[in-house]
């Protein structure tokens, strides 16, 4: 049993492996921000589950709400101007009902986060050893010596050579890949049950990306850890995630186990994401298959399907009413589309997307140009 007392009631967490049912359950999570321009509905009704030791991929463009989602689940958003509703149940505890004192027992110890940019996420004026040791001292009650030697071991386990020396280094002395490894070491220091990795490889060289992801996968297996991999890059989750959620404009538009998602894609948006990945096999000079237009305004999202303004297969029904998240056949494949793809092809004719409408992103009711 773990859980340290800190001037309030202490929380208890069962040991790894003894969890019955899903480790993390998110149900109908909404997160909005009050801004001078209106209320931005960044996360608009997201639900999913993660089981122990499994990897969930959350994929979406910038602005899909995935970063807000990850922070909202953890409870790391600033208290002011944020409205949150829905449940987030982690290992039987309701995170949304906990205040900061209680959450601090969870953060770092049971649930931790790997941030996107290690240059800004690591304190520039503190040695990396100290930054790792902090969590160890706090949650596991280690003294300085023990914490330092454990930190050295952690650095070794994430593949940093000569850890005894480097434990005294500062972040700016390390390369990007190294820093990300340090981040992983920090996140994993107290052997949390779930790690939220927010774009852990964006900005790294491709070879380094692969190394980092492999490292994460290895450690995950060793420790029977669950991982949520948040990224805009489908390629990253293709071989690493057990299940994938595709987000668009604050909502989940498709959810499936990885193989199913790739082999039996139902949402045109997901298909478009896959098509936009340039492939080595493509002839040089081939045009990039980007998705036209921009994500919609989340203060006033369009009526109907939010992807409709940019979807080549959008019909009137799509623009009028929003498709619910439903399944047909297998219960673990959910999608939100009136005209889902069948065997990778659409059942309705493609229509060139009108750029002006797709750029507005707003109620695609009036579209100029081609229809």
């Amino acid at each position: 049993m773990r859980g340290l007392q800190r001037g309030g009631k202490s929380l208890e967490f069962k040991d790894a492996g003894s969890q019955e049912g899903p480790l993390l359950v998110v149900e109908d999570l909404h997160t909005s921000f009050r801004t001078s321009r209106g209320t931005v509905r960044a996360v608009d009704g997201v639900s999913f589950e993660v089981h122990e030791g499994k990897t969930l991929g959350i994929v979406g463009e910038s602005g899909s709400g995935k970063t807000v989602l990850s922070r909202s689940i953890m409870g790391l958003l600033p208290p002011r101007d944020v409205i949150r509703s829905g449940t987030v149940r982690f290992a039987g505890h309701e995170l949304t009902a906990m205040d900061d004192t209680e959450l601090r027992q969870v953060w770092g110890a049971e649930l931790s986060m790997i941030f996107q940019d290690p240059m800004t996420a690591l304190n520039p004026v503190k040695r990396i050893g100290v930054q790792i040791a902090e969590s160890l001292k706090l949650h596991l009650g280690m003294d300085k010596q023990e914490a330092t030697s454990t930190a050295i071991e952690l650095l070794r386990s994430v593949g940093i050579p000569s850890p005894q020396e480097r434990v005294r280094w500062y972040p700016f002395q390390l390369s990007g890949g190294m820093r990300q490894r340090v981040m992983i070491a920090i996140a994993l220091a107290c052997a949390p049950r779930l790690v939220m990795a927010d774009e852990p490889t964006t900005g790294l060289d491709v070879t380094v990306q692969a190394q980092i992801l492999d490292l994460l996968a290895d450690l995950q297996q060793e420790r029977h850890m669950a991982v949520i991999l948040v990224t805009h890059d489908l390629g990253v989750v293709a071989s690493r995630a057990d299940d994938i959620i595709v987000m668009y404009a604050g909502r989940v538009v498709e959810r499936a186990p990885t193989r199913t998602l790739f082999h039996d894609t139902k949402m045109p948006y997901t298909r478009a994401l896959m098509d936009s990945i340039p492939r080595l096999a493509d002839p040089s000079g081939a045009r990039l298959d980007a998705i036209a237009g921009r994500p919609p305004d989340l203060i006033n999202p369009p009526a109907g399907c939010r992807f409709a303004p940019r979807c080549p297969y959008a019909q009137d029904k799509c623009r009028e009413s929003e498709p619910p998240l439903r399944t047909v056949g297998s219960p673990d494949h959910l999608f939100a589309c009136w005209f889902p793809l069948v065997d990778g092809k659409s059942t309705v004719p493609a229509v060139p997307v009108s750029l002006s409408a797709s750029q507005n992103g707003a109620s695609g009711a009036t579209t100029e140009g081609d229809a």
């Binding site: 001078s36 931005v40 910038s62 990007g176 890949g177």
Partner: protein
């Protein structure tokens, strides 16, 4: 396993910035925008935070002071330079709204005319510093190179130099008059302006948008004027206002040394000095109190306005 290339690749972190996904979508803007202060509990859309009552009071106060100083000759004031020997050291009364000093001069008149000195020394002095020091700093921060190193050294030396000696020497040598003092103090602010604006210019000169402008073929002049200057203006404005306040104080210190505008011309500095000499404060507090109070309000107003303006330009406030 990491290879050596990875270990040696310390420089790659700078490349990372270029690969970053641009944050353009509404959600990310929302996170940035989240930093706005006041919240309407009903979730109604918010207006921009207004400057506040204090701000407008400050603006009003400064306006009154400036207007009366400018129009002093037209106002129904008594003679500030010569007094009536039969009414020395009087407390405020109907005849003399603020009282008289120890030479029988009307304090209200002296206060209004004295405002001119403080305002001119403050604003014109800063203007001098801004024009010379600010321009030098702007260019120097952007260009760097030997000119930058030389100017840095010069400004450091000037700052290290005990200012009082220089000021006393030069004022004594040249003679104390409003014009001379303004110029001397104005020149004295040049190294400060230079440093602050240079630092700001430097920080923007290294940003990507400047490099982008260069690669598009913009000339240096254009870059400095169109890219860097607009970004430096908030700092310029704030710091200028702080410096105005500083110069007004320095005029007071000069008066303390007897080096401000020569009597009988009033300045708030020499009025305060007269009012505190020989323990006059205990017996005739009005002589010192009025200029001290007005100077206090003026300085306070200037600083407040400077800060509010800075807040308006500055997007960031508040997360933890």
């Amino acid at each position: 396993m990491p290879d050596d290339r990875d270990l040696l690749d310390t420089q790659s972190s700078d490349g990372m910035l270029a690969n970053r996904i641009p944050m353009t979508a509404a959600t990310d803007e929302a996170i940035l925008d989240m930093q706005s202060p006041a919240v309407d509990p009903d979730g109604e859309p918010l207006k921009r935070k207004p400057f506040g009552v204090l701000f407008w009071f400050a603006v009003g106060f400064i306006s009154i002071v400036v207007l009366s100083a400018v129009l002093a000759n037209l106002l129904p004031l008594q003679n500030p330079d010569f007094g009536n020997y039969s009414s020395l050291n009087q407390a405020p009364s109907g005849a003399h709204l603020l009282g008289t000093d120890d030479l029988g001069r009307d304090l209200l008149a002296r206060l209004v005319f004295g405002a001119r000195v403080s305002l001119i020394v403050g604003f014109v002095g800063v203007l001098i510093g801004l024009v010379f020091g600010g321009t030098a700093g702007l260019v120097s921060g952007y260009r760097g190179g030997r000119l930058d190193i030389a100017l840095n050294a010069v400004s450091f030396i000037i700052l290290a130099f005990p200012a009082i000696v220089a000021v006393i020497a030069i004022v004594t040598f040249w003679g104390a008059s409003l014009v001379h003092i303004t110029i001397i103090l104005g020149v004295a602010t040049i190294p400060l302006m230079y440093r602050v604006i240079r630092a700001s210019s430097l920080s923007f000169a290294q940003r990507d948008f400047v490099i982008a402008a260069k690669t598009m073929g913009a000339t240096n002049t254009r870059i400095v004027l169109r890219e860097i200057l607009p970004n430096v203006i908030p700092v310029m404005v704030t710091f200028s206002l702080i410096t105005v306040a500083g110069l007004i104080v320095i005029e007071g210190t000069l008066a303390f040394l007897g080096l401000s505008v020569p009597l009988p011309t009033p300045s708030w500095g020499n009025m305060i000095n007269e009012g505190t000499a020989n323990n006059a404060l205990s017996t005739d507090p009005w002589i010192m109190l009025w200029p001290a109070l007005f100077m206090f309000l003026l300085l306070w107003s200037i600083n407040l306005i400077g800060d509010r303006l800075r807040q308006r330009f500055d997007i960031r406030e508040g997360v933890l």
